[in-house]
Amino acid sequence: MPPLVEVRHLVKHFPRGGGLFRPKSVVRAVDDVSFDIEEGETFALVGESGSGKSTTGRCMLRLVEPTSGQVRFRGEDVLSFPGARLRAARREMQMVFQDPYSSLNPRMRAGAIVEEPLVIHRIGATRERRERVAELFRLVGLDPAHLDRYPHEFSGGQRQRIGLARALALSPSFIIADEPVSALDVSIQAQVINLLMDLQQQLRLTYLFVAHDLRLVRHISSRVAVMYLGRIVEMGATAQIFEDAHHPYTQALLSAVPVTDPDAPRARIELEPSSVDREAPLREIAAGHWVAT
């Protein structure tokens, strides 16, 4: 069976500058990125700010139009879809955003926020939609009695559940979660992560998890791709990345994660930027373990 999602040579350039005395240039936010996501797995894109991990996710749903490349979903090239076909495809591919404070319309009631995708896609009669929304509320652990509340009446964790219920409204098979818990308090993060893992089992979801928290990524992902300056520098099974990192950037990134054991030995590895060959292609050093050196 082919992978659920195939990304090939994805490129996104943002134009920059072009001021009076400055020549135009481009930022290569995503620079020839390729990977596959298998059905049912959690694939993580990790990296620091500016690495291009969020832009990659957005390009895949065409929330940002990529400059070039291919994104195939169930074998079909999403980037070549015309408008109507793209809208249909979006029923299958949904996004959960980082900030539960700015990603929900403050003037809409929670129930209407979750219902909106059904209205846009003209699914069900009013009563059926109401029932579906209540069902979605229960699915994500919200009380359907709170359907008529506004987003500000919910806590951050509950708001993220509303965002998740909305993403699930059209019964997608693939969800891109862009830093879904990084704006939440520590004690709430675990609740939302547990919910994401439960839903994955229950609904057979496939996740692309865009994140910078490596402790979390290690816990929930089956495979990981590490991005640095717009490129994937290392990719493999979670254990390969965390226990056998080969790329100097991956090693530096892993060594920087604070450890919650005060007695743990600390060995920081500093990245020498000149040691990274930006043009090096990914090569397979073990089954499924790719490194750009």
Partner: protein, 334 residues
């Protein structure tokens, strides 16, 4: 002079709002000794930042300190005039904020920020201040300090700006620096560098540090002692190593257990429920509604401080009185 640099006793800060009085900080007591780092840990709304602002008398109305005492180098800060207090800020207590871009003036050069800090406190002429600024930028490991001193904040990366903030905080050689989430806005590799720098500055300048953070990993790497705040109160404090090994309060245990680790793909230990709203705190212990070990007494009264050892204290009915139950290391959830 005593070993204790800062002694906070019963600090209480309230905000009078239309919704009624919100007590953001309630009866907070702790000490910071010379050369020591105290980590103040809490989630959003726990009152950790309000505590810091209360210490240096910078709580904005409608907030005000309603009770408690802050002794810094033996002086009661509440008794100082506004001029004397200004002298304490900067020369006595330096400050590093979370968002360096918001704390720096975008139209002032880096060196002028440091020079201003020095000159406000009457330390040196313009030329001396510039030379000292370059020294300080070198001290916080900024390469090419002679050139960087003339840069504007926007020309620096996030990590560099935070280094500049630290240089400003250290400019007048204060014995205490308060760092409020100094690495939260930074990438993890930059965070590691800034934490390393703070440790080095502690050694080189002999400062004490009050480190405010929500990240227990940052505390484990940086602090000597830790105080855990929940809904405006310190619920547990003690040496970092001891607390991480034998957390006594159910909230501390829950926080430590909710950090991802353990068996990949397994369910994480979550603390159910949400941080309570300060306007509608439950009667009794604020954590009780989320606590897996709550007892009838927990809803009746907020627990008093119980000493668990010379350095350790906790506010929890599980530990109050003779039936106190101190968990063995084996009992602590992994």
């Amino acid at each position: 002079m005593s070993d204790v640099l800062l002694a906070v006793d019963g600090l209480t800060t309230a905000f009078d709002t239309r919704a009624g009085r919100l007590t953001a900080v309630q009866g907070v007591s702790f000490e910071i000794r010379r050369g020591e780092t105290l980590g103040l840990v809490g989630e959003s709304g726990s009152g950790k930042s309000v505590t810091a602002f209360s210490l240096i008398r910078l709580v904005q109305p409608p907030g005000r300190v309603t009770a408690g005492r802050v002794l810094f180098q033996g002086r009661d800060l509440a008794s100082l005039s506004e001029d004397e207090m200004r002298e304490v800020r900067g020369a006595g207590i330096g400050f590093v904020f979370q968002e360096p871009m918001a704390a720096l003036n975008p139209v002032m050069r880096v060196g002028d920020h440091i020079a201003e800090a020095l000159r406000v406190h009457g330390l040196g002429t313009r030329a001396e201040a510039r030379a000292r600024a370059i020294d300080l930028l070198r001290a916080v490991r900024i390469a090419d300090a002679e050139r960087r001193v003339d840069d504007y904040p926007h020309q620096l990366s996030g990590g560099m700006r935070q280094r500049v903030m630290i240089a400003i905080a250290l400019a007048c050689r204060p014995p205490l620096v308060i760092a409020d989430e100094p690495t939260t806005a930074l990438d993890v590799t930059v965070q590691a560098q800034i934490l390393e720098l703070l440790r080095e500055m502690k050694r080189e300048f002999g400062i004490s540090l009050l480190l405010i953070t929500h990240d227990l990993g940052v505390v484990a790497e940086t602090a000597d002692r830790v105080a855990i705040m929940y809904a405006g109160r310190i619920v547990e404090q003690g040496p970092v190593r001891d607390i991480f090994r034998r957390p006594a309060h159910p909230y501390t245990r829950g926080l430590l257990a909710s950090i991802p680790g353990g068996v990949a793909g397994s369910r994480l230990h979550a603390i159910e429920g949400a941080v309570p709203n300060l306007a509608s705190l439950p009667p009794g212990c604020s954590f009780a509604p989320r606590c897996l070990e709550r007892m009838p007494v927990c809803a009746a009264a907020f627990p008093e401080v119980t000493l668990l050892g010379p350095e350790r204290s906790v506010r929890c009915h599980l530990h109050a009185g003779p039936g106190s139950r101190f968990p063995d290391p084996d009992e602590v959830p992994a």
